[in-house]
Amino acid sequence: MNNLIIRWIPLILSLVLLAGCTSKPARDAGAEVSEQSTGATSSEAGGEGYDSAMTSAASQGAEWYGDPLEDPNSPLATRVIYFDYDQSTIRMDYRDVVRAHAEYLAVNPQVVVRIEGHADERGTREYNLGLGESRANSIRSLLMAEGVADGQMIMVSYGEERAASYEHNEEAWALNRRVELVY
């Protein structure tokens, strides 16, 4: 939990600054936070969506209201995690995405996520069902390690039965070796 708050401090700070009509976003905020600031600025022109979240966060200091799941600039917007061939370990480039989902779920214990594991068409169907489950298990383990409760996660493996791409080539297979997070 501490870790969680620390990770959000730059964002919260920037929001506080914004609420005080500061024109410059905080420098340490990093790329994603800058994007958030832009969103907040545009929302002043009567936009909806992020501004309620921004305002609440600013006024209450440490809470994140509204729905960050709707934010296309949030790492939470990434709901598909891809895997290497016959592998179920989470690639390094997806670890931050999964952690962002973990943080969201940890602070929203009422939210349930469905973790759907998939495989490409190569090899046998039942083994691929197992592979899809292993991939879903990897995501689940990381989410749990980051503080998500067991009851917030529903797991299902579809193996190769629900392809994202129906082509029979490397590109399609790469798109099909995946876990989808469904809120």
């Binding site: 016959d86 039942e126 083994y127 069902l129 197992g130 489950e133 493996s157 029979h168």
Partner: protein, 432 residues
């Protein structure tokens, strides 16, 4: 591998092709196939039966790749009993064997089919039967006659009077949604397809009971996998397991009393054996790896299964009551979905060879593996009940098709559906 492509694109189109029949195409036959003539059967009665028995027998024998059937137009005479046969004429046509017969009315709606098989050179009858049947069973009777001829001439019974279960996936016309998935059963020649389950959610892993009266399968209709058993003739079904996680890969024990299956209810996928009478469940493997795709040896003593406990999927064998599992495949880095030949001497499985997924047979005594198929995405191999052929799923362009290959690799067939994908073929046992 000197194979002669004898029957390239011999497309057998069926009478009822407008239905969703499978069409069977023989892509390779055997050099030196036995020349045989099946003379159109005589008919003694008023209304001709709807089925042409001789044509069905001839098509079966031809499709096996082991026989070369004489076209009807080349026949000099059309005898219907042994007395009428002029053997010299048939010798002149280069025919080794001859089948003649008749269909006679029997009672209100029945028939008697008489047939005789002759050795043309010796002028001797090899076998002959009178078989009572009915109109709806006439095709099956013709397949049984083909089975008897196959057995008499080649030493092993034919598997023509059997069926194949398979999964089809068809996109609804103009539909954007999920395709419709059906579990179907057809005669081994592709005729008479019947849908026994239809779903918008995945259906996988059909498995015939040893008596051919039930099929176990996995359905996702409730949002996650569950194992069902369905009676083929009544349609009545029972949900067997729907534990948390995967409920997959059902496999009947040879006595039909148990089902081996892969369950992940305890956290990861292990093989369990479900006792159908008591409903009790016994874990057979306990390993953190993926253990799935169990299959029983014909004597019921062993279960083979796929496991990646060594890092890559390979086939392991364990006593069917549980115990130590030993690895039995060592060639290639991916071997999965093994099942025993009905004679228990070999396994068929999916192997990866130079990046291609292909069907192989591994001899259990020598451990030698022979790759039989030539596709790059072949899967789901299943032995015919006479152990002579293996049916499997393959790709032709973008479509899923079924293919069959003889165990010696010499005969090849392709079975295609008119539209959509067809996959996961399972050959039925002999009917009892």
């Amino acid at each position: 591998m000197k194979q002669l492509i004898l029957f390239v694109m011999v497309l057998l189109t069926w009478q009822h092709a407008a239905r969703a029949d499978l069409t069977i195409e023989i892509t390779e036959g055997v050099e030196g196939a036995l020349p045989i003539a099946v003379v159109p059967f005589g008919w003694q009665g008023k209304e001709r039966p709807l089925e042409d028995v001789a044509e069905i027998i001839g098509a079966d024998l031809h499709r096996s790749g082991r026989f070369k059937t004489l076209p009807q137009v080349d026949m000099l005479a059309r005898p219907t009993t042994g007395d009428e046969v002029e053997f010299r004429d048939w010798r002149g046509l280069g025919v080794d064997n001859l089948v003649v017969g008749q269909v006679q009315p029997n009672g209100v709606s029945g028939y008697i089919v008489r047939f005789q098989l002759f050795d043309v050179y010796r002028g001797e009858q090899l076998t002959g039967y009178n078989i009572p049947t009915t109109g709806p069973n006439l095709r099956t009777t013709a397949h049984r006659i083909a089975d008897l001829i196959h057995e008499k001439l080649l030493g092993i019974p034919g598997a023509f009077a059997t069926r194949v279960a398979y999964i089809t996936s068809v996109n609804e016309p103009g539909g954007q949604g999920e395709p419709r998935i059906d579990l179907r059963i057809a005669d081994a020649d592709g005729h008479n397809p019947q849908t026994i389950v239809s779903s918008s959610e995945p259906l996988i892993s059909p498995a015939w009971s040893p008596d051919g009266r039930k099929i176990a399968y996995v359905s996702f209709e409730e949002g996650q996998s569950a194992i069902y058993i369905q009676e083929v003739f009544t349609g009545r079904r029972q949900k067997l397991t729907s534990y948390k996680g995967i409920n997959g890969a059902p496999a009947w024990s040879p006595d039909g009393r148990k089902l081996a299956m892969a369950l992940s209810k305890d956290g990861n996928l292990d093989i369990h054996v479900y006792d159908l009478a008591s409903g009790s469940l016994k874990p057979i493997t306990r390993h953190y790896a993926i253990d799935t795709e169990p299959a029983w040896s014909p004597d019921g003593r062993y279960i083979v299964f796929t496991s990646d406990r060594g890092g890559k999927p390979q086939i392991y064998r364990t006593p069917s009551y549980g115990g130590k599992a030993e690895r039995i495949t060592f060639q290639n880095s991916y071997n999965a979905r093994a099942s025993y030949a009905p004679d228990g001497k070999s396994l068929t499985l999916v192997t990866r060879e130079e990046g291609n997924y292909r069907i192989a047979v591994q001899d259990l005594e020598s451990g030698v593996m022979q790759v039989l198929s030539r596709g790059n995405l072949d899967e789901s191999p299943s032995f015919a009940p006479n152990s002579s052929m293996i049916i499997y799923a393959s790709k032709a362009g973008h479509r899923g098709v079924l293919a069959a290959v003889s165990v010696d690799g010499r005969v090849r067939q392709r079975l295609a559906l008119q539209e959509g994908d067809v996959r996961e073929p399972i050959w039925s046992p002999f009917e009892k």
